[in-house]
Symmetry: C2
Subunit: 500 residues, 2 copies
């Protein structure tokens, strides 16, 4: 589906809508409705099960999202977290340089200086998207952080965090003290990040407030032991920085072992494979829609030693889009915060010398993946629209219907409550024909539907049996209600990585 068509469907179904919609909406801000909020929570739970599940020494924390100025000064965000902004000297509109240039230069402006971008604007004859003038300014840096003041004096600046990672670095010393005092130590955060985008657009792909799920793994720079053998043969679709084909070329498919052979460290490739498995096996994006896009020296932030973006091809956005990344950040973060705070952040594992850990960051865009789950799994099949979400991600795991509401509503309501008490959230529905109800549930991604009928509430052999119907196969089976939870539950648990 196209962007507008998909958004209209999601809006109509109450998955998401623009914030402050009755006031005309707030640019770059969205609200999740009942289905969206539940899907988001399950996606987060699946992320935790998978990534925090990688080690007994990885833990989720929930830090504040307001950062004092000293923190963003040390991290470099105060100085560098900027987008080149171009203003039109004729109509005074402001634009991201990348947006103004997007048709003339689809590869973007990463790595170019303001002067270089300014020269491009002139040489390509770029015009103001608003008034058509060619009088565009040389780009100036626009800081994307939202600032505010703490306290009454107006002198204590604070910022809404531009990424969740910083809070993990700030917590490293405390987490070291609280935990086993061993490396690697993983700190996971699922939280809001805020960016004052000059031109928010593409719904969930460039928002001003969005949710990140990030795992920062702090490890000894001389060794990060991983069971690499277990992933060595796995094939990974990659676009290498030094061997990119023309736009639209298929990625190379190489083994994890070959990636290590090309010079990447084992620990890095091991985690790249786990990101791949999460996207392919847990979120069930088709393998041919996934690629890992290596950023070149010029494109990646200077402190990233290695960066592959995880990208998924989305019909609604017309191509591959970033949904996550694996960043080897070295010791940049602990060094900077050590200097900024005046506290030495090196640690001393038992029986070893003091060391400043390096950081491997696995980052994941919750909203972008929620959108991707709609783009990839929502399918039109003639009149029928079915959201083929993996069952453990479905906002509502089971719908419960009385065949004839007047006769079986009480039983069905009680069954819905009993399933909920068993940990399987159930949605009751008695409106319209059974066919209409199945259609509503299919569109909402509900993997199971249970129908209560005359046999269920009668005195015969079918007493206390119900009909279970599966969304994807449309297969139906009659079974005792006591068998329902056991029948559905295995499909409703998100996969975990093997770590035995």
């Amino acid at each position: 589906m196209k962007l507008d068509e998909l958004f209209a469907l999601l809006r109509r179904r109450g998955v998401l809508w623009p914030s402050a919609e009755i006031y005309g909406g707030a640019q770059g801000l969205y609200d999740y409705g009942p289905l969206g909020a539940a899907l988001k929570r399950r996606l987060e739970d699946a992320w935790v099960a998978w990534f925090v599940g990688l080690s007994h020494d990885y833990h989720r924390i929930e830090p504040s999202e307001l950062l004092p100025e000293a923190v963003v000064r040390a991290s470099g965000h105060l100085e560098n977290f900027t987008d080149p902004e171009v203003t039109c000297e004729s109509c005074h509109s402001a634009f991201r340089a990348e947006t103004v240039l997007e048709k003339a230069r689809p590869e973007g402006v990463d790595g170019l200086s303001p002067a270089q971008i300014g020269a491009l604007l002139g040489s390509l004859g770029v015009r103001c998207p608003n008034c058509g003038s060619t009088a565009l300014s040389v780009p100036r840096p626009f800081n994307l952080m939202f600032g505010t003041e703490l306290g009454v004096t107006g002198k204590e600046r604070a910022y809404l965090q531009p990424e969740t990672a910083q809070a993990s670095y700030l917590s490293f010393a405390r987490m070291w003290d609280v935990g086993r005092r061993a490396l690697p130590l993983g700190i996971a955060v699922i939280g809001k990040a805020y960016r004052n985008e000059i031109a928010p657009r593409q719904i969930l792909f460039r928002m001003r407030s969005f949710t990140q799920a990030e795992l920062q793994i702090f490890f000894h720079p001389q060794r990060f032991p991983v069971p690499f053998d277990r992933v060595a043969a796995e094939t990974v679709p990659v676009v290498r920085a030094d061997r990119r084909g023309p736009e639209g070329s298929p990625p190379e498919t190489v083994t994890a072992a070959a990636l290590v052979g090309s010079g990447l460290p084992e620990f890095y490739v091991y985690h790249l494979v786990h990101m791949l498995r999460f996207l392919r096996d847990v979120l069930r994006y088709p393998a041919e829609r996934i690629r890992f896009f290596e950023k070149s020296d010029a494109e990646r932030a200077f402190y990233n030693k290695i960066q592959f973006d995880a990208e998924v091809r989305l019909e609604s956005l017309g191509g591959f889009r970033e949904v996550g990344a694996v960043h080897y950040r070295g010791d940049y973060d602990l060094t900077r915060h050590g200097q900024g705070s005046g506290r030495d952040l090196s640690v001393t594992p038992t029986g070893e010398a003091s060391v400043l850990p390096h950081v491997l960051e696995l980052t994941f865009g919750v909203d972008r993946n929620l959108w991707a789950l709609a783009d990839v799994h929502l399918a039109r099949d003639g009149e029928r629209t079915v959201w083929h979400l993996p069952p453990y991600l479905a906002p509502v795991p089971v719908g419960v219907f009385p065949l004839i509401p007047k006769a079986q509503a009480t039983y069905a309501l009680e069954l819905a409550d009993a399933l909920a008490a068993d940990g399987v959230a159930a949605q009751y529905d008695d409106a319209g024909t059974i066919g209409k109800r199945y259609a509503r549930m299919d569109e909402a991604g509900v993997p199971f539907c249970v129908t209560v009928d005359g046999g269920t509430v009668g005195e015969g052999a079918e007493r206390d049996t119900v009909t279970l119907r599966e969304r994807d196969s449309r297969a139906q089976e009659r079974l005792p209600r006591s068998a329902l939870t056991g029948r559905m539950t295995p499909a409703l648990r998100p996969p975990r990585p093997s770590r035995a």
Copy 2:
């Protein structure tokens, strides 16, 4: 425990700590560590199970927490969301009037005008807490919202939401369209709220960024049908606004029916009882530590027709403190946002006349209750510290130990993974004696511990059996590992209200 002692324990155990701790901390901002983040998530899940579980027509949404200025202008927050602030004309320090007056006037300053507070400062001879001067200014209103700018122009003001409720009012029209178009309709939000407190203090009780769980129930002003019979006989501890005894007097204990007899509507008392049951039966605060404190006409916001604060007596804070409330807000919110947005927010239920719904708000402070769960349930028993959390709230449901790590670590690790895959998050621990491990788990509130020993991994009759130990009773039993999940799971599901 005293405030400082309890905070020190929670900090040491990694439940929570001041944000940006390595930079000296950020006033009024806290980070939740692994235990705190997991406890918070479970507390939120228990709240959802209970309050969203009250009706099939109640739903959780997840809206943006940035509000455009037009929204807070309409809601009244731009004008009225203020605290009286007093400045010292001698040393230029700023204070909340309530803080400066707290010793001289412990009942607070709710309902007093700035001039009345100014007169009190003089007549009571109040001094500046910083320099001791009596030259304190007449209070001026200080707006508690955090403001920021959207976009590049600096002309689009936005505010971090001061309460989650507003987002529910903004979403009402969309939720009406998406849902069954019937009243009552409930919209629940768990989200961050932000207040630029002049004097943040008492750890989680006056934070600048905190989590609220709020349910807004939109209902027909002429009828809100509830099964009142089921709660009529329940006794509720109340302090009525017109019959308050001296500070420290015990609350009256009256039946729900008697409260209705005194003039409160049935729907209001019904929900007050459900708030009581949540605090007493789900969070397991002892009944004698709970009271519902009615706010007088002068104390409550003018748009609240009825307000009882739910209060819990906390040792660490020296008395009863507000942890939630039930507000009957009338049609104030939909009227204001109807005017502000220019959109008529009245609705037309099938076969009925158009009506502007009234709102009943159930509000609950997630952080305050997390603190209360520590204050109430953490007990010193000689050398032993045990956190008697209800099992379904415990951050970690089960600890898994090998009796002799060298011999049984592999089995125990594999068991921990298998339990996690079964939906029971398990923490592996092999450090120190079994007694030390039990002590660590008791302090962390872990309700179950499982020990793997020589019998478990041997070839004899005890093969694949383990020892299960319960935190509160310290009772131990030997059982097959295949029986573990079934044995623990019932205790790990949060209670739901009966709605059949």
